[in-house]
């Protein structure tokens, strides 16, 4: 397994065919970026000294369009991220980079103060007005994601579940925990309706995705080790780990192994499921609870890049359609935000340019709701189109609620 999927072993398969270049949304948006082929597979293998840095490495957003375009199975974007980590071995991080990579840490600090979320949100609003984020090197045009008054992990303890039956562990992800706990609640409702008690493991860290893309690879490795150990522990107990965040699931299932190569990451990954992937497996086994209200809605579905990369089909679309929803895929490519990429001041314009086609599509408003499984995609869609999307699991949860 290691030799075929660990990123550093895939570079030699590159034929320089340029398929990745033809599919790179960043290259299409800006001509400064030399493109995935030259940065990861070529420069990643051919540089001969620590000083030999490919200057346009910073432009890769890790959206993974190149990996999906590659006919030869080269883990192009992960090679880029490994290169980026090399760069930061000898170059300091900026304050903005430190902030956007450590959302989990900021969230924990906010929760330690009384009324921390309220004050932090006021602070962010004031900060935006005073242009402070811009001065820090962040995209001043954006609202920083507001903290939920109660994080999901605290809300969770108040949810009444019937225990004693089948169990899953929910990997909440930082965004759902700190910013969109309603997605977490919907997730629990749906899993309960399907006979699963949901457990939370407070020992999990942030999956590490924001750390990897910002070049904090050693920290990401610590997160990966901890999370993989916890997942393996649950695996031994026969309890799967399920997450409603597609970037978390991609990191846990695929990127840990691509980045770090140890077999344990692959063994842990076997116990990890994306939320709708898990539900579809239940459906195939005939264990899915079909007792829900018909979904008479027209939904526009932005399929996140990090879901496409997982090769699990489009389970949310299939399930929602089966219960009466009309689901149209947006087919407008990457939304442009790519996790924390679009929060960088110097990447904001690129991020918005990439998303322009999607925003145009959404502004046609020929649907009841926009759905997307990824938290940062939802943020970007809201910012770029003014329309607030929801997670597909919220649609499903509402249909169970009304029935019950």
């Amino acid at each position: 397994m290691s030799e075929t999927t660990q990123a550093i072993f895939t570079g030699d398969r590159c034929l320089s065919c340029t398929s990745c270049m033809a599919n790179c949304p960043v290259m299409a948006a800006i001509k400064d970026y030399r493109g995935p082929k030259l940065v990861g597979p070529a420069h990643g293998r051919m540089h001969f000294s620590q000083e030999d840095i490919e200057a346009t490495l910073e432009f890769c957003s890790n959206c993974k369009s190149c990996d999906r375009a590659c006919p030869s199975g080269v883990a192009v974007s992960t090679l880029n991220m490994l290169q980026r980590a090399e760069y930061y071995k000898t170059h300091p991080h900026t304050q903005a980079e430190d902030m956007i990579a450590h959302g989990e840490r900021a969230g924990k600090m906010v929760r330690m103060m009384p009324f921390g979320a309220t004050f932090a949100n006021i602070g962010m609003t004031v900060g935006k007005t005073l242009n402070i984020f811009d001065k820090l090197g962040l995209a001043g045009e954006r609202d920083m994601p507001a903290y939920a008054l109660t994080p999901f992990k605290d809300l969770f303890s108040r949810i009444k579940q019937t225990s004693g039956g089948k169990k899953i562990v929910m990997f909440t992800g930082c965004f759902i925990n700190d910013n969109e706990p309603q997605v977490g609640e919907a997730f629990v409702k749906v899993m309960n309706a399907n006979g699963y008690e949901v457990l939370i493991d407070k020992g999990f860290n942030c999956c590490g995705s924001p750390l990897v893309v910002t070049g904090y690879l050693d920290e990401a490795r610590q997160h990966a080790d901890n999370n993989a150990d916890r997942i393996l522990d649950w695996k031994r107990q026969g309890i799967p780990v399920v997450t409603p965040c597609t970037s978390c699931s991609l990191m846990l299932k695929e990127e840990y192994h691509e980045l770090f190569g140890e077999d344990k990451f692959h063994e842990a990954a076997e116990n990890v499921y994306d939320a709708f992937e898990f539900l579809e497996i239940l459906q195939e086994r005939g264990e899915f609870n079909s007792d829900l209200k018909p979904l008479n809605q027209k939904l526009l579905y932005h399929v996140p890049c990090h879901l496409k990369s997982q090769a699990i089909g489009l389970p949310a679309q299939d399930i929602l359609e089966e219960f009466g929803a009309k689901v149209q895929t947006a087919d407008a490519g990457c939304c442009g935000i790519s996790g924390n990429y679009g929060f960088r001041k110097d990447k904001y314009d690129i991020s918005m340019k990439i998303g322009a086609k999607l925003f145009e599509r959404i502004k046609r408003k020929d649907f009841d709701k926009v759905i997307s499984d990824c938290g940062t995609c939802r943020m970007q869609i809201h910012h770029g189109s003014g329309i607030k999307p929801c997670h597909p699991i919220e649609i499903l949860a509402a249909a169970y609620s009304i029935r019950n």
Binding site: T18, M21, N23, I30, D67, A69, P71, K253, A311, I312
Partner: protein, 404 residues
Amino acid sequence: MKISDVIVIGGGLAGFMAAAVAVDRGQKVSLLTYGSGSLPLASGAIDFFNAKAPDVAIKNLPAHHPYKKIGLKACDAAAKFFCDVTAKADLPYNGRLSAQIPIVTAVGTLKYSCLVPESMNASNLAAKKKIFVVEIKGLKDFYASMIADNLKKYFPDKTFSVAKLDLNLLGGRDITCMDAAQNLTGNEQILADGLKTLDAGNDDAIIIPPILGLDGNTSRAAIKSQLRAEIFETTCLPPSPPGIRLQRAFMNYLQKSGVRIFENSKVIRGVIDGKKITGVVVENAVREKIFRARKIILATGGFYSGGITMRDFDNPQEPIFDIPVFFPTGAENWSNQQLFSDKPQGFSMTGIFTNENLNPIDERGEILFENLHVVGANLGGCDKIFERSAGGIAISSAYKGAIL
């Protein structure tokens, strides 16, 4: 997961064409792709056969040739269907099977093809008085004087003029035709103004690299209407705008028609029930997923795309269904030492043999799978590069496989 009427495996020209034909006939189609297919690397022209009248040549081929299994009727219908799809995407193509159309290559030779993008159709070149060849400042791999010198060998009586335009492309990376085309989209006037300074008249022609946009005919129309002279695009090195336009035209057609497209989905084997295939298994990073269908179209390509693999000499394999692969036995028949000679290469004949319904057959002529149809570069028995038949075989076998 719902059962599709047809699953098409492969996202190249043959796979796109098969999916388009099937969905046009009201079928529920799923397209599984791994890598972006080789269209962005291709000229965009569809060669049928290297002969003055390809339809006559096809009639006279030996019985084992893929064209003889496909039949001329399906070839004609495929050409028509192909032109309909591209016309609907505002990417007009010219041509038919009974004649060849010249296009100018990036080195100034003429290449003949049956179906060519209207923007490259150089049929009228012979009737022009003066030919302007225009290169773009900063655009790599395009040398106007070399093109003019080589074209003089075909047209010694004509006047050639070489010009260089500055489209303000400099700054950032090396500029490919794809970059220039991207840059020109919505920004056509700068090129139109530059071309007007040539003062080319009604009887003249202008030859430019293929930079007239990446989507359909919009950029070309905006420029063409302002010029008196006829303007042609050449072919170019990849990434190739005419190939990208063709890929996008098909992709838009498939998406609008409701074909479900699953990227990054590597099929590893079939679910077999006697002589029927009831589904295919996609392997992702950690587990397998079954996609079910009533009919399967195999369009995974030849050696380049991994549709045929060969780990040991004399042992080529079709990796998904383990279909027997025809190849010339004996090392002396395997290759022809003269790479660019007047004889085909033995190894290029490698591929799958089928009956007239494009079902794969074994060495005794027995059908292996009744609901599997093999299309495109998987088909064996001819050197498609030598014959210049790859594009024609791709679209016409795909057409036939999809209508059966």
